[in-house]
C-alpha cells in the first residue's frame, strides 16, 4: 500500500525542514562580506583561511577529535566486554545490568553537566582535558553498548559453540570467532561514540575552562557574543566531518542499524 498524497506532502516538507539550517550555514560560510547573510552576496573562501590561521580554533578541533577518538576506543572496549559478559547471564541479572548501562540516557543533560562538574571540582580536574575525556567516556557508554548487543543477538551462536566443542578456550573463541563476527556492531559503536563525543556541547560546556575548550563549546562561546561568518566556516567543517562519518557508517554497517538499535531496545524494555 502506498502512502496517500497528504502524507507524502507532509513528509516532503519535513525532509526539507530537517537539513535546511545546515544548508543555510554552509551557504553563509562562503560569503565574502563580514555580515552573515543568506543567500550569500558572492563567493569567497576568506573565512576558511581565517579559521585555519587561528591557533585557538585549530587547537579546539584537535582537542575534540582526540577526545572523541579516545572515548570511542575506550567505550567500545568496555561495551564489548559487558555485552559478552552478559550474554549467558540470567535474564534477571542481564536486565538489571542493561538498565544500569542505559541509565545515563535517562538523565537530562543539564543535570549531568552539573553532576560531572561537582565531581571534577572535588578532584581539581575541572577545566582539564582529562576531566572532559572521562565524562565523555561515561556519556558514550550506552551508545556503544547498544549496537554491540544488537550485533550479538543477530549472529549465529552455533559457530561459537562449534569453536568451543573443537577445543578452543573462551578467550580464543572471543578473539578469533566472536570479535570478527561482531565487526558491524563494533564499527557502529566506534563511530557512534566518536560522533556523540565530537559533537557534545550541553554537558561539556560545564566542564571546560579558560585554558581548555572543545570545538562545539568554543563555537557556542563565540555565538553567545556574535554570529559571524567565521563560525559558519568552522561549523561547515564540523558538518563535513559528521557527514563523512555518516557515509562511512552507511558503507560499513548500513544506516538501518539505527532502526535495529531502536527495535532491540524497545523489544527488551
Amino acid at each position: 500500500m502506498r502512502t496517500s498524497l497528504p502524507v507524502r506532502i507532509l513528509a516532503a516538507l519535513v525532509l526539507v525542514f530537517l537539513p535546511a539550517p545546515l544548508i543555510i550555514v554552509i551557504g553563509a560560510s562562503f560569503s565574502p562580506g563580514a555580515v552573515l547573510s543568506f543567500p550569500p552576496p558572492g563567493f569567497s573562501l576568506r573565512w576558511y583561511g581565517e579559521v585555519l590561521g587561528d591557533h585557538g580554533w585549530v587547537m579546539a578541533f584537535v582537542a575534540s577529535a582526540g577526545i572523541a577518538a579516545g572515548a570511542a576506543v575506550v567505550t567500545t572496549i568496555a561495551a564489548l566486554g559487558a555485552a559478552l559478559a552478559l550474554e549467558h547471564a540470567s535474564p534477571r541479572t542481564r536486565s538489571i545490568a542493561e538498565t544500569m548501562i542505559l541509565a545515563p540516557l535517562l538523565f537530562p543533560h543539564a543535570a549531568l553537566g552539573i553532576a560531572f562538574l561537582s565531581w571534577l571540582v572535588a578532584l581539581h580536574a575541572n577545566g582539564t582535558m582529562i576531566g572532559v575525556f572521562v565524562s565523555h567516556v561515561i556519556l558514550c557508554a550506552p551508545f556503544a553498548y547498544r549496537p554491540i548487543a544488537v550485533s550479538l543477538h543477530q549472529i549465529d551462536r552455533s559457530v561459537a559453540e562449534a569453536a568451543e566443542i573443537l577445543g578452543a578456550s573462551p578467550w580464543r573463541t572471543i578473539t578469533t570467532v566472536l570479535i570478527p563476527m561482531l565487526r558491524p556492531g563494533l564499527a557502529a559503536a566506534l563511530m557512534f561514540s566518536f560522533i556523540i563525543s565530537f559533537d557534545e556541547v550541553t554537558v561539556t560546556m560545564f566542564l571546560v575552562g579558560p585554558e581548555f575548550s572543545t570545538l562545539p563549546v568554543k563555537i557556542y562561546g563565540h555565538l553567545a557574543d556574535s554570529a559571524d561568518p567565521v563560525v559558519a566556516a568552522i561549523s561547515t567543517i564540523l558538518i563535513a566531518m559528521t557527514g563523512g562519518m555518516i557515509l562511512l557508517l552507511d558503507r560499513v554497517v548500513g544506516l538501518g542499524i539505527f532502526v535495529d538499535i531502536e527495535e532491540d531496545a524497545r523489544g527488551n524494555a
Partner: protein, 272 residues
Amino acid sequence: MIGSGTRALLFAPMGLLLAAFLMTVVGLVHSSAARGLAVYVELLGDPGIRTVLVRTVIIATITTAACAVLGYPLALFLSRSRNRNLWLILVISPWLVSIVVRTFGWMVLLGSRGLVNTTLQAVGATPSPIRILFTPTAVVLGLTHVFLPFMVIAILSSLLQLDRRLEEASRILGATRWQTFRAVTLPLSVPGLIGGCSLVLLMATGAIVTPLLLGGLRDRMLGTQIYTEVFQVFNFERASAMAVILLATALILVIPLRLVEGRMRRRLGAAR
C-alpha cells in the same frame, strides 16, 4: 561457555564506568543538600523559579507534540518507501550534527536579516522585520528541529515491525485508507510514538544551548537557569538543587509514559 571469573573480568571496565556514574549522581544530590532541604524550600518557594519550572514543562510539552505531529507522517512515508536508505540520510545527518551548529543555522534563518524575514518582506507580508529570534516561538522551533529525528526513528522502528498483512486484510474487508489507518496502523504503532515522546520530553526539559541562543533573556528554562547559576552567580548549591528538581521533573513526566508503553508492548506481544 565463559566461566564466571572471565565474565567478571569482561564486565570490569563497564562496571567501573557505572560506579563512576553512580558517584556523580550521589555527588550531585550531596552537594545540593549541604544545608539539608533548606535550599529546596527556598527554590520551590521562589515564584520566579516556579515560573521557570512551569515554562520548561510547557515548552517541552509543545516541542514533543510538534515532533509527534511532524514525525509521524515522515516515519509512515519512510516505512513504505523503496529508497528508505537515501531518505534516512536526510534524517540522520542533521541528527548527528552538533546541536550548537544546528541552532546557529536557526539564528541565521530567523534573524532580522535572515531568510524568513527577507522572504516575508519580499512577498509584502510585513513592512519591517518581525521579531522571531529571542522569543519562546524560536525556542520551540529550534528544539523541535533538534529532537525530531529521535521521534522519527522511534516511530519508524515500530512501523517496520508491524505486520503489513493486517493492513491488507483491513482494506480487502472494505475499510477505507483512513479507517485502516485509524483502526490498524495507528494503534499498532502507538508504542513507538509513546517511546519517541518520552525521549523528546526528557531531552527537551534538559536543553540548554538552544534556549540560551534562540530564547530571550526573560524566557529562561531550567537548564539555562542552572547554567547561569553556576557561571554567573557561582552558586553551586542552588544549581545542584535545581538539577535535582530538573531530574525529578523529567522522571515524573517520563516514567508514566514508559509504563504505558511497556504495558502496550506486552499486550501487543500477547496478541501476536
